[in-house]
Amino acid sequence: MIFRRKREIGKAGLGRTAFATVISLIYFFPVLWIILTAFKSYADALAIPPKFIFEPTLENFYSVFSRSYSAGAEAVDTGFDLFFFNSIFIAGASVLLALIIGTVAAYGFSRHPLKGNDTYMFIILTTRMLPPIIVIIPIFLMFRVTGFAGTYHGMILLYSAFNLPFTIWMMKSFFDELPREVEDAARMDGSSEWRIFFKICLPQVKAGIAATAVFGLILTWNEYLFSLLLGGRDVRTIPVAMAQTIGGDIGVRWGLLAAIETLFLIPVVLVTFLLQNQFLRGVTFGTIKR
């Protein structure tokens, strides 16, 4: 009898699928644990052995925004609504600014190369070669002198500057992949260079913009060091505020921390989810020749 495969070539069998699922669960477990802990009471969160079945409570989520700092004292506003706004506003604005400047710059580098174009591209990359902590002192001094410390525009400019090299490199590679013939056609059809950029090139790199935006957002969203040192009191972002929540008079409140982390995850998950189709096309862009 002729041997016949039971499944289509290229499709994983049950065994492999199960194996992949187990590996994924191992990776996902910490996140799952945080989400579970967020819904646990103080006692449940500390229980040994750990509880998987428990009575869920929203208490931790209320405490994120308003709680009493010592036993019996009146509950006060924690300021976390402001910190969430800070994180969203600063990450959003700085990524947007970096995208606007970086996309135009990348198009310039790709389509109208300067003499020594590669050298410029290399210099742009070198700004990201050092660990950020190396440049913290000069930047700290610059922020002191200019009064940018503890301001929105200061933090937005700072993060934009951090995102720019990455944005330029990513976007340049996307523009490099576009067929020049289409631009030539637009040129023949009477378009100005700006019209070619906006009408022809930009729509073709949508996926690339999405991918770059997601990377930039995650990077900025999670940034801790500069926010801690330069953010000051009022433009604190969540990672800093979260770290400052550890401690307290009755020990670490794991449930509260987990609740902050859960809330902290939502925007990233949301953005990635909304952009995922574009994003996936973006990260695999140019890997298949037409």
């Binding site: 013939e181 289409v182 056609a185 040129r187 023949m188 059809d189 009477g190 022809i200």
Partner: protein, 363 residues
Amino acid sequence: MADIELRGLTKRFGKMVAVNDVDLDVEAGEVMCLLGPSGCGKTTTLRMIAGLEWASAGDIMIGGRRVNDLPPKKRDIAMVFQFYALYPSLTVAENLAFPLHAEKASPEDIKRRVAHIAKLLELDHALDRVPGRLAEGEKQRVAVGRAIIRDPTCFLFDEPLSRLDIALRQEMRSQIKTLLTGLKRATVIVTHDQIEALTIGNRIAVMRDGFIEQVATPHDIFASPANVFVAGFIGTPQMNLLAAARLPDTKGRLTLNVLEQPLVLDIATANRTLPPPGQVITLGIRPRAFEPMSEAGADTLGGTIDVIEPLGAETLVHLTAGGEDLRVVLARGSGLRPRSALRLRPIVSQVHLFDGEGRRIEP
């Protein structure tokens, strides 16, 4: 005055000369095919006419105006690109309308002209689709439509049919020919496909290594190639180009030593500018310009059959004669056997002669 005039057009990329001192006139209503092997400079010439490359030297005149320093949009030309170059994010209707926006045409005017082109090129059903969802032939038609929706002085086509499969290519070839005949504009078509050039072009310019080798009508370029390169490039199967030493004449007739055999051609040598006896010339005979002969004669060549390739109506026979390969197409090939001898007589009226430098010797 021609609508497109090229005078001494030259393009250098560093030390490499891609286009070398090209002179070419394309009259209004004329279709000029630039034909040549890849890398011969034909596409660079087209791109210079379009304004997508700067000319290193020479003049480009369009409609009597020197356009060397003008950007593409001010040259009054439309171009169809090899890979169609449709705008991927725009629908077919938007693609067709794109050149009209630059002309600042009114919305009603745009609507009317898009509808007209869509009808002409049978694209009505596809107007709302994006290029990614079109068949190859439809993409090709959109590319053509986007060029002809304007009314420019001249049209440029860069390898317009190279991406289509054979059946579609034949269909589009006649469609484009009909279309161009109706448009009556100076048109330059770049192609490496000689069938395309021979069928579509009113005249053909054969290019090699940046030079134009010959400009002539499809008939003339086939019937009287200017040199050995054109002779070998045009025509399938390729013309036999045989080195031939001139021997003393036989009764005033041209006598050659070719394929290590003497051959008398019925060509009077008097009043002709032929190299003197002893010199080597090139004898060009197309594979279809032979007659099979049953008997040996002074005007025949003999060879041994190597390979027989039936082509349907005809048979292509490869012979070995004097250590060289000879291609012959015969009307009937049923009696042929490999390794048997065959005698052939070149049809003198279809024989081409080239001098030691490969230039045609006019009869």
